[in-house]
């Protein structure tokens, strides 16, 4: 452990642009191997050496070269998130990513995004990532009961966390929102306000959470013994104008619904607009209870009752679970079901 004079230190620093293990080795007099070990806190390194190496590393601002680490270890230190085009609206995707990034802070992991250009579960991207080891873990939303992406990942033992559940018998990590409870509670509130014919706007049928929402809705409806309606023509993924037009048409017909459980803020706004085309007023002729994922709706339309889904928290939990899964941690609970905050939260 040579005590390097200042001049030598700066000379060594100047010669090499970016500090590497070699730089620290030259500076301390240790071998590269020792430096590597000291920095990764390997047990066989003496406390004194470890301390000295850490000091020098901090001083010269050493940062391990990601490419070299990745090449050697096979670990990429990359988490990949698959982004669906439907996540564009109202910051859905960004909130999730923000939460993810929060969980990944102070870890070596980087977040790379792969937007899905084609519609539906993009199995090709997943296969590509798995086959070529492009990431250490995968995150995606909008699962289907027998989602081919989940099957592929399970078969290959590739770490991932879904936002949404499946119906495979093999359990896998997920962080999901309890959409049954949401729909059940939302519908009960509508009925509680005296509405006798609630309608629910569902996501496309193929997705798992569509079934959960439907189930919650039907449970509430049957318990109360009221009528109900489920539109076939529209879903939460439809363009705003289609939902609005549908509501407008429907309002003009007989036996129009008098309550709406909306799975998203946009569909709630579209419903209000469509209904108002026929002079129907929110709070008077009908009510809405909607899922709230941003601050927008409840501020713009305080008459819409909302139940909150915290997507940033969801993202953060997904990150946490994925890191545990990658680390092979068996103690962490890998399946998280987030309960709706049904206690009328204020923004």
């Amino acid at each position: 452990m040579a005590d390097t004079p200042k001049s030598l230190a700066s000379e060594i620093m100047l010669k090499s642009g970016k500090p590497t293990l070699r730089t620290i080795a030259d500076l301390t007099g240790f071998a590269v191997t020792t430096v590597s070990r000291a920095l990764s806190n390997a047990p066989q390194i003496s406390a004194e050496t470890r301390k000295r190496v850490h000091e020098v590393a901090a001083e010269i601002g050493y940062l391990p070269d990601r490419a070299a680490q990745r090449l050697k270890t096979g670990r990429t230190n990359v988490i990949c998130v698959l982004l669906d085009p439907h996540e564009e609206i109202l910051g859905y995707g960004i909130s999730l990513m923000h939460g993810l990034a929060k969980a990944l802070r102070d870890t070596p992991y980087h977040l790379i995004v792969m937007p899905n250009f084609i519609n539906g579960a993009n199995i090709d991207a997943v296969r590509h990532i798995v086959r070529n080891g492009m990431a250490d873990g995968l995150i995606f939303s909008r699962t289907e009961p027998f989602d081919p992406r989940v099957r592929l990942l399970l078969e290959n033992g590739f770490p991932f966390v879904t936002h949404g559940r499946t119906e495979f018998t093999t359990p896998h990590p997920y962080v999901d929102y309890d959409n049954f409870s949401f729909a059940y509670e939302a519908t009960k509130r509508l009925i509680g306000r005296g509405r006798r014919k609630p309608m629910i706007i569902l996501p496309p049928k193929r997705m798992t959470f569509s079934q959960h929402l439907l189930h919650g809705f039907m449970t509430a409806v049957r318990e109360a013994g009221v009528g109900y309606e489920i539109p076939d023509e529209i879903n939460l993924d439809c363009p705003v104008e289609e939902i609005r037009d549908f509501m407008s048409r429907r309002a003009a017909q007989r036996d129009a619904p008098d309550g709406f459980a909306c799975g998203g803020e946009v569909s709630a706004l579209a419903t209000i607009t469509g209904m108002s085309d026929h002079g129907l007023t929110l709070g008077l002729e009908y009510d809405i209870v909607a899922k709230r994922t941003s601050k927008l709706l409840s501020q713009i339309q305080p008459k819409v009752e909302t139940i909150y889904e915290d997507l940033t928290d969801t993202g953060e939990q997904m990150g946490r679970v994925l890191l545990a899964r990658i680390a092979g941690d068996e103690t962490t609970e890998m399946q998280v079901l987030l309960k709706p905050q049904i206690s009328f939260p204020t923004v």
Copy 2:
């Protein structure tokens, strides 16, 4: 150039998990160097060899190892996008990223996102990326006239494209929206509808495009010789409720504005809500012309006139410009100013 029998081929394939240059070399009988050259279409390789190597590579699904390439060349094949928390609303950030990803398709570039957790231009993230060569190029929004990030990047010759301009004398690549024209046109429309006291809701003053908007607004106002008002208490980054409350308060006072140029859809909705608190109706007592970046507003509130800003296109152009900048292409125009589509586009 040995013609390898099938059995040997499969044997070689089996031995090594992931195909590498070595695999192709063994399969074709060429040296690793030759294979590398053939795949990168180096001029000194014979057409015949090149063809054969490409064939085999395609057949076994060879993909170059990113880590090895990065280690050797120093190029990361990564584009980093800095995400501001204010980009959360209405899919602003996601649209941009979608466009970016579109430009990066069929290139080796991956898109990594770094959300900004602290408020304001986060120079630390930029310094970290530059110093440690974490990416080949950088993308960010919400520039300030003398944005420290731009200065740092210019000083280091690091490739980047901003969404927004600066006032540095050294030119740098940007893709911006002509916010002067937007504000000018929006205000003229308000005046054209007979409004005599327009108001504009601006982004925080420190950002360059705030000045552009202000300038456009003032030009229109002065040309027409009408009154105007510019609120000091609120800006486009404010939470929805603050804008709504402000509008509500302002509507109650004397000489309330009768026209609003809104730089975002959310502020437009908040304005409508705030005004309606005092029984003022859009289209009757006042008008709004707003910037439209999603399908939401114009469908929900057809009475709000909108002028479109295509953020997906913006992202795509930014990607295109950045790739050209990285490639050192001098012919590509590095400064793009997107004109508002003032011709009353339909969604």
